[in-house]
Structures are given as C-alpha cells and as structure tokens.
Amino acid sequence: MEDLKLELKEKIIDALNLVDMTPADIEDDAPIFMEGLGLDSIDALELMLLMEKNYGIRLSNPAEGKQVFKSINAMVEYINANRTK
C-alpha cells in the first residue's frame, strides 16, 4: 500500500511536471483538485491518462471519477481494487 502511494505520487509529479514538489509534499488525504494540489482540468486529463497507461484503469463515469480523485488514499484504494496492469 505504502509502496503504491509513493509510486503514484512520483508518477503524478512526473506527469504534471510539479518540479518543486517531492512525494512528501503531497498529503495522503488532501483533496487533489482545487484547494489541495490546486490541479485544474488539464491536470485532470493527465491523471486519467496516467491511470489508464500505468494501471489499465479507464475512467469514464464522472461520479466514480470524482470519488477516485478525492485524494491519494482514494486513488490508491481504487487502483488496488481495479488495476489490470
């Protein structure tokens, strides 16, 4: 679980080019969008692609997607339950 959290944070930093951040700067339960990491619509699409490419998870249901992107913890939980890669 912790390994996946670290891996995911590193992939997010890389995909979104968050050059000034380290995995330790991303809180596990903080919201990913707006007040948390401050990500926007472009970043959301990047994260969807990240989920698809790395874990074989295709997010197309908005209600489900919003739950997944609630926090790092929510993402990790969803990846563990649904990954195909």
């Binding site: 699409l45 990047e46 997010l59 919003k66």
Partner: protein
C-alpha cells in the same frame, strides 16, 4: 484576461425569442431578415461598446486599417456575425446553404483511421456550420461547447448534429473531462475551441497577426500527451447563401522526436499560422469580442 471582459460564448435571447426566430425563418425571406438586422446592428454596437471597441482595436492595430475603414469594418463585422447567427437559426428551420469544401479529405482520412484525433475550432467564421458539413459515419465527433447554452439552441443543435454523428459535450465542472477522456480512449474525434481560455488558466504564447497572444494550453497538451493527430477547422461565410469549409492538418512527422513541450509549442505555432492565413483572407469574420491581444 479577466472573466468579466470575456464574451460569455452563449447565444443571446430568451427561449421564446429563439422559437419565434426559427418560426420566422420558415416563412420569411432571408433577405428581409438580413435587411432588418442591418438596421439593428448600429444600435447593438452602440449598447455593446466592449465588443465594438475590441473589434475596432483588432482591425486598426492588428489588421493595420485606418480609423475610418476600421470603424466601417466594425459594422460589417457585427453584421456578418449576426448573419452567421441567423444562418444558424435558418439551418434549424431547414434552410440549406451552398458549401465549398477545401481540404476536407484531411478530415475524412483521419476519420477512417482507428485512432481518434482533435479538431481545433475557433471563434472565426461560423464554426457551428462546420458541424452540419462534416459527416462522420465511421467515428463519432464530440464537440466541446460552453456551458449554459439556451435550451432551444441546445436541443436544435443536438437534433441537427446527431444526424452527422456529432455529440455536444458541455464544458461544465469536471464531469465533461471524463466523457472527453472516454471519447479519446475509444478513438473518437474531439472538436475543441483553441482560441479562448476556459476550464484552466494555463496558456501558450503565440504570435497572431504580428502580436503576442495567449491561447489555451489544454487542446495542445491533450494532443501532445496522447500523440494524437490534430486538424484546424474553419467554416467561412462567402456569400448570402454560401460557405467555405476548410480543414488543415497541423501535426507533422517531425514531431515524433520532439518532447511534449516542444510538441505543444509546435502545434500552437502551426495553429497560429493557420489562423493568420484565415484572418488575412477573411479579416471581418473574427468573432472574439474581447481584447484578445494584451
């Protein structure tokens, strides 16, 4: 560019006004409706200083027109914009327009391939008309629209575009991003405006008509990240009942060796060059009614 300085991107008027307008187009001659609009345009300009001034600045500073010519150009610009909107309602009422097609084989070729692609649209000419002219039986096209479009416009658009296998996606909140993501993963086409910031404030700097302007990063980021083909599509009014639909391929084989950032900049520069060429030929069909260049 502040929110309040931007045109909302929605069609003005109430529900009953739209229905009445569609009814008018069924029975009244177009020439009469155009004539009526020609009388209304000066009043519209008078009460909409912001849009009028931005077009004056565009014609005077960017197109290099003299003050008098630029002022006259503002009137023609507003008239043509109104005519484009009227043509839209005329289409809802079942009227047909002559269309010259230029480069549409680019679109057809890409539509025949397994991979999806992105078609960049602009607030130049009558982009909505493109939808009626591009038939995509093999691949669904998803057109991203501004949220809050009036119900009449929305339902008529849905009805007309559905025939051509085009789906409208309203860019409201975060929900539309999931629909967009699924569409691209399914190899569908996405049509998105590339000349106005929405959903994200991230922008790319390009030169259009000799001056620096900001265009949204989103469409270019999407194309670069997913390595998707990109076209720019325009539909220009060329006469009373005629249009020219144009398609340009923006991605090239040289992009294969580029980094993501280089790809975005390259595509944005190619898009800007295409916009330049269109505006040189049709300077009066620029419909970004805000100060596009800062």
């Amino acid at each position: 560019m502040s929110e309040e300085r931007q045109w909302s991107g929605k069609t003005d008027g109430t529900l009953w006004m739209h229905k009445a307008l569609i009814g008018c187009f069924k029975f009244l001659p177009m020439a009469l409706l155009y004539f009526f609009m020609a009388l209304v345009v000066p009043f519209y300009m008078l009460f909409n200083h912001q849009g009028y001034l931005s077009i004056y600045h565009y014609l005077h500073q960017r197109q290099g027109w003299g003050p008098l010519k630029a002022f006259g150009g503002c009137y023609v610009n507003h008239f043509l914009f109104g005519a484009s909107l009227m043509d839209r309602f005329a289409s809802y009422a079942g009227r047909k327009f002559r269309v010259k097609k230029t480069g549409l084989e680019v679109f057809d070729n890409l539509a025949g391939q397994e991979q999806g692609f992105i078609m960049l649209s602009s607030h130049i000419g009558n982009s909505e008309m493109s939808g009626y002219m591009l038939s995509t039986p093999l691949k669904r096209m998803n057109a991203i629209t501004f949220p809050g479009e009036k119900a009449t416009v929305r339902s008529n658009l849905d009805r007309m575009l559905e025939v051509n296998n085009i789906r409208l996606i309203s860019a409201d909140g975060l929900d539309w991003l999931f629909t967009l993501n699924a569409a691209l993963s399914d190899g569908e086409i996405v049509s998105i405006h590339a000349d106005r910031l929405f959903g994200s404030s991230k922008a790319l700097k390009v030169k259009i008509l000799g001056a620096e302007a900001q265009i949204p990063m989103g469409p270019f980021n999407l194309a670069a990240t997913r390595c998707l083909p990109v076209t720019a599509g325009f539909c220009m009014k060329t006469g009373f009942k005629s249009y020219e639909a144009l398609q340009y391929r923006l991605d090239t084989p040289e992009m294969e060796t580029m980094s993501k950032t280089e790809k975005m900049d390259y595509l944005a520069a190619r898009y800007a060059a295409t916009v330049n060429a269109i505006l040189e030929k049709w300077p009066l069909q620029w419909y970004n009614f805000f100060e596009f260049w800062k």
